[in-house]
Each structure stands twice: as structure tokens, then as C-alpha cells.
Symmetry: D2
Subunit: 143 residues, 4 copies
């Protein structure tokens, strides 16, 4: 699907252990769902992250920001929509919308962005492999 912006959609079910005593999902877990979202988007793009890591490339989170709008609760059906916002030689920025699915529609629970930086096996920054960089660029959403 070269040339068309990609959008990955992933579903997760809220786990009991993801809640806290406030009765809602503990806030750092949304970053976990973001990671699942970008993992599945990368898989859709033909780059399963487990394979990517085996080539010696690591994508480490350099920046993250989240806005929490409504609280997810136990057993909610969650939908994560992931897009690629920006690509540079060493970084790629993903954005996320996290929804609760209901029989009659869905509600926005949170939005987030994460900027990932390419590292080699020793943790030094490196360029994204040209092919992956182009795949990300093709799939990115025009600003």
C-alpha cells in the first residue's frame, strides 16, 4: 500500500491487573497499549518488531505525551488507532487514539504520541535502515 497513509487498529481487553484501587486503569498502562498499537502497525507494514530487533536495530522511546480524557475500566473492549506522524533519519513519531468500544459506538479515552529513536545494539543512535525509513515515510500521515 505504498503511498497511502497507514492506520493500524488493534483491540485489547482491559485486564484486572491493569486496574488500580481508583477502580480504573492505572495510567502508565496506556503507554503499554500504545506500544501494542505501534507493534501491530509495524507488523501490518511488513516489519514485525521481533524481526527488526534481530537485525540489531532497536527503537527506543525518546519522548512520550498523553492526554487522558475518560477512564478505561476493567473488561472494557479497547481499540487503539495508530498513525505515523513524522519520520526523520533517526526518529519516527507515532500518534495514538484510544477508544472504548460499546455496542452502540465508541468513546475517546485518550490520545498520545511517542517519538522513537533508532539505536544500535550498543545503545548508540543510528540511522533508520533506508528501506524501513521509506516504508515509514510512505505510511506516514501528512501533517
Amino acid at each position: 500500500m505504498t503511498g497511502s497513509p497507514a492506520e493500524g487498529t488493534t483491540h485489547v481487553r482491559v485486564r484486572y491487573g491493569e486496574t488500580d484501587q481508583m477502580g480504573v486503569v492505572y495510567h502508565p498502562n496506556y503507554l503499554v497499549w500504545c506500544e501494542i498499537g505501534r507493534t501491530e502497525l509495524m507488523r501490518d507494514l511488513g516489519y514485525a518488531y521481533s524481526d527488526v530487533e534481530r537485525t540489531g536495530l532497536r527503537l527506543a522511546v525518546a519522548e512520550a505525551s498523553l492526554r487522558y480524557v475518560r477512564a478505561a475500566v476493567y473488561d472494557d473492549a479497547i481499540r487503539v488507532v495508530t498513525r505515523i506522524d513524522a519520520v526523520q533519519s533517526r526518529t519516527v513519531t507515532f500518534s495514538y487514539e484510544i477508544f472504548r468500544e460499546r455496542g452502540d459506538g465508541s468513546e475517546l479515552l485518550a490520545t498520545a504520541t511517542t517519538k522513537l529513536i533508532a539505536l544500535d545494539e550498543h545503545g548508540a543512535t543510528r540511522r533508520l535502515p533506508q528501506q524501513l525509513l521509506e516504508r515509514f515515510r510512505d505510511a506516514s500521515t501528512p501533517a
Copy 2:
């Protein structure tokens, strides 16, 4: 210590389960350390969060942002420095600096901010209790 900006300092030791297969701390865990930091700052200010919740007030994270500078690794001695950046009638914003302690000094690993919103027991936004609001204001760092 009315009138002087407060700064809370907390120490945590990196747990094995906080690492991931990249050999470093899994990035959402920094938000957990931030929470420990503000919990201890609030305790220093005379408002243990466990007591606060018993009064029916909840402080929920509404926004969070993080910058990851260097990776924490297993067994690192971590120091979290927490400050209050801004206080409004229904929100309070904390900022964090996360350091690795070494025998000969310390290194900045990450910075973060979180904006918390006051909720009642039913999850509706409410004003901060006047006394707590003033305590936060007194303790906040002038912008």
C-alpha cells in the same frame, strides 16, 4: 515550611521486572516512579495520599509527558526529584527529574511532568479542598 518552594526527593532501586529484553527499564515504568515521587512529596507536605483518598478526593492523571535522556538499567539507584509547577482550583501540575546515582555523582535519565485533576468519588471533577490547594500553592516553584 509555608512559603518556600518544596522539592521532594525519593530513592528507588530498579527492579528486575522493570527491565525489558532491550536490557533497560521498560519506558512506562518511569511514570510509576513519578507517582512514587509525588506521593512522597505529598507525604512531606502533610498530605499522605492514602489519607487524602479516604476523604473522598482523588487526584487522577489528566496529562503526562516524558523525555527519556539515558536508559536506567537493572539495580540502578534512582533518585526522583519532584516539584509542584502549577496549581489551579481543580488541577495541580508536578514536574520530575529522574537521576541515576553513582558513587561519583549522578546522571539525568529523564524529565517528566504530570497534570492531575481533582475528582470526587464518582469521578466528577471538583475543586481541590481549600487547605490542600493553599498547601500546594505555598509549596509550588515560581515559574
Copy 3:
């Protein structure tokens, strides 16, 4: 399906954050998968745990035991098979087999059992509601 032993089958994909620096899944996470397994089995039996809790009944883990045979790794497709081993007036014991799914078959990774005890909203032990107790008994696997 009254009278026939029930077996719940659930699938989870190993998350990056579930790994540790040994490069495998951090061992407490298998208990999380067990919980997902029994949650889904209970849903199949007509007792979604989220509904059960709303009636004031809680099922708390009183005992757990696990044997780890092979290590799960990132991105593995995991299958959890859950059965009910024993039911008493106040307790129910679940057993689990955790497999890695491969194109050409599956491998046993771990086995586990957990004994859950019925609690009321104040944390005191109580009897299982008669209907649920009978549902569990009907679904249990003869020893």
C-alpha cells in the same frame, strides 16, 4: 452445557513489556495470563467476572502454584487452557496449561493452579452463591 466439564481456551500475544532483560517473559506475568484464562472461562459459563463483582462477590486468590517448563518470548502466540479442578462452598480451584502456538503445533510452557476464595465487599469470607457454585460444579473436571 450442564454436566460436561468445561475447558476455556484463551489466546494472548506476548507484550514487549512482559519480557525482562533475560530476554524471556518475566515470571509473575504467567499469573496474569492465568487470570485472563479464568476470566474467559467464567464468561463462557455465563458469569462475566465484571458482573460478578457488581453483585458484591469477590474471588480472591488464596493459593497459587506454578511450574515453568519452557520460557515464553516476545511476540509468542500463547494459548491458555483453563479448567475447574475442585469446588467447595467457599473456594474454587482452577488449573491452567500455558502453551506456545507454532505453525506446526504447540509446546507446553507452564502449568499452574490457583485456589480462589469467595469474599464479601468487606473482605470477609462467604459462601459462593448457590447458582454459581452449581455452575462451577457442573463445569468441573472429575479428579
Copy 4:
């Protein structure tokens, strides 16, 4: 302290994120505290686990069992007492008692045991290094 059974004592404060919507600590987290307990006992014995791993030896959990007696809650001061129960050429078994500390005493919350197996860097079982094996034996509690 050659020849005298060792007992490691570690303190942890219950984190907000360790609770679940039942208002108590989510049960898999006790295994995390056990790990902290044995890490600190090993440090006391002169074998910081972070150093041990650097030599290529890994200690993986092969079996675990837990009994939950009373529930830990947010902000509890927890004390973990760790002992070595049994040592064999390739395995070492730790036992744990987990207490809540109160001003006027302490309450037993849980007991646990974990059997760890020695692995090399490729995940194959291996013998414990002779020196470590003897250190464990000296420190073990007579059955």
C-alpha cells in the same frame, strides 16, 4: 558468616500501581517482592545478581508457590524475610515470609517458595559455580 543460616530482610512500600480495583495488592506482585527479597539476600551474601548475570549465569524461576493470608493495601510498609531452603547442584530454593509492618507489630500477609534453576547464556541448564553453590549451602536453613 560461613556456617550460619542467613536470613535476608527487605522493606518495600506498596505502590499505587500495585493495587487493583479490589482495593488490595494485585496477587502476582507478591512474586515481585519475593524477587526483591532474594536479590537483597544474594547481595548480603556477596553475590549481587547484577554481577552474577554478567558472568553468564542466570537463575530462572522453575517453580513458585504462594499462600495469601491477608491482603496488602496501598502504602503498607512491607517486610520480606527470605531464607534459602535447599541447594542442589543446579537449583536453589528460597522461601519467603511477607509481613505488614505496623507501629505496634507486624502481621503475616503471605508465604512463598521459589525454586530457581541455573542456566547459561543460551538458556541451557548448568551447574551452579562451585563457590556460589557453597555460599548458598553455608547460608541455607537446615530443613
